[in-house]
Amino acid sequence: MKDRRIGVFVCYCGGNISDYVDVNKVRDAIENEPGVAVAKTHMFTCSDAAQQEIIEDIQNEKLDGLVVASCSPKLHLFTFRAMAERAGLNPYQYVQVNLREQCSWAHRDNVELATDKAIRLVRAGIAKTRLTEPLSTLRIETKPKVLVIGAGVAGLRAALAISDLGLFVFLVEKEPEVGGWTRKWNKMFFHDQRGDDIIDMLKDQIKQRENITLFTNAEVVEKGGSVGDFSIKVRVGKDDTISLEVGAIIVATGFDVYKPAEGEFGYGLDGVIRLPEFKDLVTQSNGTINYNGRTVKNIVYIYCVGSRQFGDIDNPNLYCSRYCCSAAAYEALCAYEKNPELHQFHLFRDMRTYGKHEVLYEEARTRQSIFIRYEDEDPPVVERVKGKLRVRVHDQLTGGEELEIEPDLVVLVTSMVPRENDKLVDILKLPVGLDGFFNEIHPKLRPVETVVDGVFIVGAAQSPKTMAESVASALSGVSKSAALLMKGYVDLEPFIARIDTELCEWCEECTKACPYDAVEKVSVDGKEVAHIIESLCKGSGACIPVCPKDAIDIEGYTDVQVKAMIDALIQEAV
């Protein structure tokens, strides 16, 4: 091992670290470690002034390795990598040690041992840095084309917005018609626009765009490649399969309406219907609302059907479906508009008419809807007695009084549920959350991005949303795709697997273990060995433990490095 010149900078974090870890003691303990050329402390290493000083140290001391012991790399890894690069140091010879989240914050009760641990952590960082090598990012040219899966309101709007930016769009819809649920619906809250009008308008605009290609009756059947350069196979109609090359994928597959089990809140009884069906009844009505030839006078809405479930249900939907309270209150207003003589009873748990939707709730009340609150553990009972519907419920708002209502119609305010998308999930390798919806990287800050780079999830496929929210999310996905593709290239992290072809004897174990199909068989000097396709490898490490010859390593996280770190960690602190 050649002599290294490593700079180690320990951060106070303005007290966040230094209140519990004696940072000067840490500095003193490691400054004579082999390879350490500079060891200093800073009040805030991330401050511009401290960064400038570190840059000067890197240049003046001709450092070839860098350790900053500060916060979580989630916060500042890229800050310090960029700093290293500005100083002329290869950014992958920088190692961040997490002294805040993993040490000072976790051990406030014991300063002495916290300092002890900090010394070990920094030593491990130094041990790793000693074995770093300069790496470079993998640059991939991107294709200026986007695949949008699902042509509901979110998919259609996303396609238009991508086309606006001059990128090509392939829009793939499973059904023969575009428009999804929105096309089937009439007036929708919050702005009284008709769903079918909106879809027609979007469809007309799409027809005029030369850079949008729409496939209906079509399904994605295969995905290869990676961010910026995906190759996609789409089955169109029964037998045709076409190949597409795209730089990004937007998944806008939407939702399904919850189908209650037989007997759930009386579902299956004559006169018990779901909210979407009720919407149709209201649309069709002229004056009175009729169901099966009978005039409806009294309506009971039961909320949270398929949402926030409890009790002994298999795989209950624990989540709140977000749109239903507002949608039901709005539908009651529409019904009132048709027939002000109606008596409408809403059996709810919490009214979640958030933000401006509160006005819908308020208006529904003033338009004589009566809201009755049922307890989580005591849901209403719907029966048909002597040919009449009967609903029994304990009203929490009236001191738990048991009420009996004889409605002509029971409307089950059904939730949004995730679509059956197993095939697509498998093809795209998309993560699915506990609730069955696609999972984003970060619910707050990165809500449309997924762990699969270049694949974005928008609309109700990510979680229940109103139409306006789905569209906002679709456009957000467009922003992300455009930011990715309009630059023309992507740089990928170099932390990928590396095969030692001398050791490898091609046993197929690695290619079986790889979830990304990144291992192929090649012949090197007549010997069959494994080869890593750089653009596909995610550096997941799945291949490493299965290799019987220990012929695989991850760049930046080699076995030797990890072992050196472990040795450093178990060494006595002082």
Binding site: H343, Y361, I370, L397, L403, E404, I405
Partner: protein, 100 residues
């Protein structure tokens, strides 16, 4: 078990309209009542809205205990005209119970 009776409301509404629909059941009115009347006015109004006539008549005394001080009305986040409604109920009781 109480049968919901939507037409009871029409009976209560007299010359001045009874109107408690805007109520969002927050309970502030009950809590600010200087008389400490548990029942007035939120739950009482619910009896009317749902049509629980017996419950309303059962509470005749409470209805007359109200001072009409409008403490509740001042604090009502939904702007329900609570005192008007109580007057309306009194007029109903006058007709129904006291046969006035």
């Amino acid at each position: 078990m109480a049968r919901v009776n939507p037409s009871f409301l029409d009976e209560v509404s007299c010359s001045s309209d009874f109107n408690a629909f805007a109520c969002m059941n927050c309970g502030v009115c009950t809590a600010v009542c200087p008389m400490g009347l548990d029942l007035l006015p939120r739950r009482l109004f619910r009896y009317v809205l749902i049509g629980l006539e017996d419950k309303v008549i059962e509470n005749t005394e409470t209805i007359y205990t109200c001072l009409l001080c409008k403490m509740c009305e001042e604090n009502c986040p939904a702007e329900v005209k609570i005192a008007e409604n109580v007057k309306c109920l009194r007029s109903y009781i006058n007709r129904k119970v006291f046969k006035l």
